[in-house]
Amino acid sequence: MIPTKPTLAKSEVKGSVRQMSVWRIRGGLSRGQYWTFAIAGLLLPVLTWWLASSTGWVDKVFLPSPKDVTVRIWTWLQNDHLLNDIWISTYRVTAGWLLSALIALPLGLLIGTYRPIQAWFEPLMDFIRYMPAVAFIPLVMIWVGIDESSKIAIIFIGTFFQMVLMMAEDVRRVPMQQIEAAQTMGANRSEILSLVVLQSAKPALLDTLRVTMGWAWTYLVVAELVAANSGLGYAILKAQRFLQTDKIFAGILLIGAIGLAMDQGFRWLHRRSFPWLYSR
């Protein structure tokens, strides 16, 4: 038998190239299409906001215009130590989150690896994580005082217990076959933990760090309820007292922007640190 190459007439080729709908289930999207949707999704709320405020449809006291907010950010930067507020808030959030991570990482690794440690800690953590972090404020003030460490403590309480459980789950998801393969190659327990389990779980752990960083930011305003006199959360609380809705808006938007930037930073780090996940 002689294999023959199938040939197609030009008209057949033309007819067979069909545009796939972007609404297929789990369908694909080109780069251009992605950005069209993404930018539309971001602009539409801003446009609505702008329309609602500039036409006088909603009172300025309730809804300042985008321009008011931009001007407010500018004067805040010029006269009201915006950079200092950003810096101190970022410091508090990062410190509380980092402290959580430093304890949650080894503890999560052990909980996800050894059943007795899981049995010991997991029900306890599950119990504590349902307690409202806000309710700890009076206690924290009594125990820790009213300086920086109290704000960091609140953010720690808000993130740590969730973080531990998520990290333990990340570690538990390491396939048993990877661990057994190492055992049959003569690895001992500490080698399996450091050279297999930790390495295998790293991408998931970094994702957990990214997600919990977001949660740490949501606890900022709560943390700055505690005898603060600076910071974005504090500025928002103070603006409320003087009905400065434009400043409230500015503060919220700034927190959102910083969070988004950090999230993108984590995603970048993920792509850089784990090339095997992105090479196919």
Partner: protein, 280 residues
């Protein structure tokens, strides 16, 4: 010849909420050095459990496993294991995966520079034999299933194990790739003189690869029969069509069918066909 693996009065009982299952009962098996033994049997006959006990990944309930005369109860570098899948380390390149067992030695500062050099030579040789030289720096997820299993085999052979234990290693591969892997594994056994215990549900594979085919029967898992393979050491694909091969395949299939307790219910199929005809 020297016995490499001796199993005597080996038993394994699983205790679950539903009750106790006798996974293996009174297994007596001796494997000589350099032999290729294949284990087949209906599902639930305990063939994988038996392999895992020899690997030291699971503990027997009764009886003994002797490897070169020594009783074992944990995994060791003398017994390499190739799993069906998910055992490669996705964060390491092909070369790094293969050298993982070496890395354990360097990790413990137990190897001299001469060792490292020799190991590097062996890794290169294994890559070449496996046809992996051109993908040495690729990550496992960039490779096809067949290529991934080649990496797993090369990694297992790296520390020169006396015994290679394979648990349905080609179960997920397509038929053509599987044939290629069969010849490759026969070739490797010839040059390395490794004793191989190979679990499969594919009778043809079991005969083509083995010197002996052990048929296991389920409930309770036990050795049903042992069949020496009447083929020369040198195997070629057309041997699968010689009468001895086909006769043996028929005998073994019959044993499996008889012990599995599962039979095609022809009476029921006939009735179903009739009903379908009536409805139509």
């Amino acid at each position: 010849m020297a016995k490499t693996i001796t199993l005597s009065r080996l038993g394994k009982i699983f205790v679950t909420k539903e009750g106790t299952t006798v996974a293996l009962q009174n297994i007596e098996l001796a494997v000589e050095m350099g032999q290729f033994v294949t284990l087949v049997g209906a599902s639930g006959c305990g063939k994988s459990t038996l392999l895992r006990i020899i690997a030291g990944l699971e503990q027997q309930t009764t009886g003994q496993v002797l490897i070169a005369g020594e009783e074992i109860n944990r995994p060791g570098v003398d017994r390499a294991v190739v799993f069906q899948h998910y055992s490669l380390y996705p964060w390491l390149t092909v070369m790094q995966n293969i050298k993982f067992s070496r890395r354990l030695f360097t990790h413990r500062n137990e190897s001299t520079s001469a060792d490292v050099e020799a190991a590097s030579g062996r890794a290169d040789a294994l890559l070449a034999v496996m046809g992996l030289a051109h993908v040495a720096d690729a990550y496992p997820n960039q490779l096809s299933g067949g290529m991934q299993q080649r990496v797993a085999i090369a990694r297992a052979l790296m520390p020169r194990p006396q015994i290679l234990l394979m648990d349905e290693p080609f179960g997920a591969l397509d038929a053509q790739t599987r044939d290629v892997m069969h010849d490759l594994i026969r070739y490797l056994r010839a040059i390395e003189n490794t004793t191989i215990v190979f679990v499969t549900h594919d009778v043809e594979e079991a005969i083509y690869l083995g010197n002996r085919v052990v048929v296991l029967a389920p409930r309770p898992g036990r050795i049903d029969s042992v069949h020496p393979v009447p083929l020369t050491e040198e195997r070629t694909q057309d041997m699968k069509l010689v009468p001895e091969f086909i006769t043996m395949k028929r005998t073994i299939l019959e044993r499996i069918r008889e012990t599995s307790g599962m039979k095609t219910d022809y009476e029921m199929l006939r009735k179903l066909t009739q009903r379908a005809a009536i409805i139509a």
